[in-house]
């Protein structure tokens, strides 16, 4: 099984711990992980702001970087959804603009091998108990693209449920967006901040020590808002919870 990690630009730059957790976890599960250094950003910030043509080189780069791998695993629901939903659209639009099939072919190559971490664990490795230990009270915020574009369903929850020591508490209004939305966070700062403030208050009210998500870009917003509100709740990526064991507590 040739498995590559797609770290994503946000994790690479700001949350390396999440990437380290994915590597630790997968290696513990007997998976050899590769990291092709030619990888970069999936292009979502550009694409979702309307700069489709600026995104095209990043699609090509993605397809090329992971060419030698059967599986590409990423600890981001949002970036996985970008590849799976939007790369084919970009390919189709390029073809419709009379620029041939090259981009569509690259997309077709990238899409089927791209997995969000919880999909890879439950669908490919077919594990829900990864032997994790995390003695904390945690609440879970299902991030929008994982929830609605990838339709991850109960995958993240069943993984969390199998973690020893973890006390999962329900988050009121869990399925409502945190308000990050990429450039939305600055283009519509007032609404974004209002959404974030409501989300952060709901999180704090659960009494949890940590809020778990599958997307550190959302955590950037949630964590930043929690901190500004003076909340003690820490943002944590699911991968870090799953990497944690009794012998190696994260």
């Amino acid at each position: 099984m040739r498995v590559a990690l797609f770290i994503t630009c946000v994790n690479d730059t700001l949350y390396p711990r999440t990437g380290q957790a994915v590597v630790t976890l997968l290696e513990r599960l007997g998976v050899k992980v590769g990291f092709p250094e030619a990888q970069s950003c999936c292009g979502q910030p550009q694409f979702n702001t309307g700069y489709r043509h600026e995104t095209e080189p990043l699609l090509r780069r993605y397809a090329t970087a992971f060419r030698d791998y059967e599986y590409v695993v990423t600890p981001s629901g949002s970036c996985a959804a970008m590849v799976r939903d939007n790369y084919p659209r970009m390919g189709a639009k390029a073809a419709a603009e009379g620029r041939g099939q090259e981009l569509a072919d690259a997309a077709a190559e990238a899409v089927p091998k791209t997995y969000e971490l919880t999909e890879f664990l439950t669908d490919v490795l077919k594990v829900t108990d990864v032997g994790a230990y995390y003695p904390h009270t945690v609440t879970y915020h299902p991030t929008c693209h994982g929830l609605r574009m990838l339709k991850l369903g109960d995958r993240p929850r069943s993984l969390l449920a199998a973690v020893k020591g973890l006390n999962l508490v329900e988050l009121p209004g869990a399925e409502e967006c945190c308000g990050f939305g990429g450039t939305f966070a600055v283009k519509n700062a007032a609404v974004s901040a209002a959404m974030g403030a409501d989300k952060a208050r709901n999180i704090t009210a659960t009494g949890a020590e940590a809020v778990c998500t599958l997307d550190n870009s959302c955590q950037l917003h949630i964590g930043g808002t929690l901190a500004r509100q003076g909340s003690a709740v820490r943002p944590v990526h699911l991968a870090e919870i799953l990497a944690s064991t009794e012998g190696d507590v994260w």
Binding site: F184, K187, G224
Partner: protein, 529 residues
């Protein structure tokens, strides 16, 4: 924009500027969306309005839960949804054929069909039709199409008073306000505010509010019943829209709750219906899908209290004269866009508004058109174009969370269209404008962003450069400010900045798992640390 009758310069509703004529006579003063600021500025103000926030939160959360229950009752919902989308797609792909069929059927049943290329033409046609009856007053059923074209303002200019009869539209009209929701135009008002509007304003329009009116919803509904009854009983001309038009039979359908629709559709001698060309469905049988999808999505009911259907005119029952005004007003431009076309499937249920976290906080007025919320954010920039600052800002009025697409009963992929329209705003490209295919220029004001996006893409496409940047950021991490200057303030005013780690993942990988040799080879050699 073409035309010799440009009173207002574009297709925005006609009428006088909001607030410009305070104290003006009823019927001549019409609030409009003209001259409204771009979405972020409007939303910046509305998010700080705590009363508005509380009203919207209460109303949208109430209906959200109810809709979910009503939809869960049908275990074939996803199939109905797919069928609804497919029927609409079939119609749209052959709209010319269905419109001709509809026209023949309506005419054969005794109706008269008129065609309006834009808002001004539709307003002119309706005004002439009302004038021809000799009447100076009309009763109106709530209609999105007539809101869109600003019909009330146009009628007022011609000296004709239009009485809105839907309870929420009445609240809006009496309050000299603008609709802020598709289904419940006065959703931004709570019961106390409604009581005050009724008490102060009803007497200017007709029967005053009862003495000592309370804010109990049942009492408010009773006040509306009494106020409007004389209008209904005396009405000679009714104006409506329609939820559906059946091409095969020429049947029009109005779905409503209060009975004001039935009053306007059956008591007057003349009925004028203004309907967008996309409201056609092929067959009477097709209604079996939409009459299941619409009530549950919109008011969360198994069925709405009243649905009226009529086919032309009927001897001695209802209006003797029936006019159908078919409205384009940007719909053919929307139709011409193979991605944006699906927005024309919309059945105006407003489920997308009710689940939208952005709508809930910004309120409907921030969207600057008759169509607020997610559907407005994709419909308005297609109907009106993306040239004004407001219309260019609408596709960005979303965090792309996808809740709207999830609840849409005709499966309009709103996030897909939002991104598609963002591209039109910043990159320009081919589009249909007033029926003519053209290549439009990028909207103004995006030059700096475009340059930044290009630079970012260039850096991201050169991972070595990216690494250099990451290392620089790590090395200077102790000096990073907590709050950013300039445009960055939009972030750091309300959110802490993340701490930049000592080492990027890339560097960690290289340090611990084998250096530059890993490239695209899967076997990274593990290094003991």
């Amino acid at each position: 924009m073409s035309g010799t009758h440009q009173v207002h310069g574009d297709q925005q509703p006609s009428g006088t500027q909001r607030g410009a004529q305070s104290g003006a006579q009823r019927g001549t003063h019409q609030a409009t969306y003209l001259g409204m600021p771009a979405f972020p500025q409007a939303a910046d103000a509305s998010t700080r309005n705590t009363q508005l926030r509380a009203n919207l939160r209460h109303a949208t959360h109430t209906i959200r839960a109810k809709r979910a229950t009503a939809v869960a009752e049908l275990d074939d919902w996803s199939r109905l949804r797919a069928a609804g989308a497919a029927i609409k797609d079939r119609t749209l792909r052959h709209l010319d054929q269905y419109l001709e069929q509809l026209e023949s059927a309506v005419t054969a049943a005794g109706g008269q069909v008129h065609w309006a290329a834009d808002a001004d033409e539709a307003n002119r046609i309706v005004t002439e039709l009302v004038r021809a009856t000799g009447e100076r007053e009309v009763v109106k059923v709530k209609s999105m199409a007539t809101q869109e074209i600003g019909l009330n303002g146009a009628l007022a200019t011609a000296g004709i008073t239009a009485y809105e009869t839907d309870l929420a539209e009445l609240i809006v009209q009496l309050g000299d306000d603008l609709p802020s929701h598709i289904l419940v135009p006065a959703i931004h008002r709570n019961r106390g505010e409604i009581r005050d509007i009724f008490t102060e304003k009803m007497s200017q329009w007709g029967r005053p509010a009862p003495e000592g009116l309370t804010d109990a919803p049942a009492d408010l509904a009773e006040a509306a019943r009494l106020h409007l009854r004389e209008k209904f009983l005396n009405a000679k001309v009714g104006i409506s829209g329609a939820n559906f038009m059946v091409a095969e039979t020429g049947t029009l359908v109005v779905v409503e709750s209060e009975g004001n629709g039935r009053m306007c559709l059956t008591l007057p001698e003349t009925l004028i219906s203004v309907v967008g060309i996309e409201k056609v469905v092929p067959t009477f049988q097709d209604l079996e899908v939409f009459l299941q999808l619409l009530p549950r999505s919109s008011t969360a009911e198994r069925m709405n209290p009243y649905t009226s259907t009529w086919t032309g005119t009927t001897d001695a029952d209802g209006p003797r004269t029936f006019h159908l005004v078919l409205l384009d007003n940007g719909r053919t431009d929307t139709l011409a866009d193979t991605v944006g076309r699906q927005a024309l499937r919309c059945i105006r249920c407003s489920a997308c508004l009710n689940v939208c976290p952005v709508y809930e906080r910004a309120g409907g007025h921030a969207y600057g058109s008759a169509y607020p919320g997610p559907i407005g954010a994709i419909l308005t920039p297609q109907l009106r174009g993306t040239q004004s600052e407001l219309d260019a800002s609408l596709p960005y009025a979303s965090s792309l969370c996808g809740a709207c697409y999830e609840v849409c009963p005709v499966a309009i992929d709103i996030p897909e269209i939002l991104v598609h329209l963002r591209e039109r705003v910043v990159e320009g490209g081919p589009a249909s404008v007033r029926g003519t295919r053209t290549v439009i220029k990028p909207a103004k004001g995006h030059a700096a962003e475009r340059a930044a996006m290009r630079a970012a893409r260039w850096a991201l496409d050169h991972p070595r450069l990216l690494r250099t940047g990451q290392r620089l950021a790590s090395r200077t991490r102790r000096f990073h400010p907590r709050r950013l200057p300039g445009p960055g303030r939009a972030w750091s005013d309300t959110r802490e900045l993340p701490k930049v780690p000592e080492e990027s993942f890339r560097d960690w990988w290289q340090r611990t798992r084998g250096g530059s040799g890993t490239g695209s080879r899967p076997e990274g050699r593990k290094k003991t640390t």
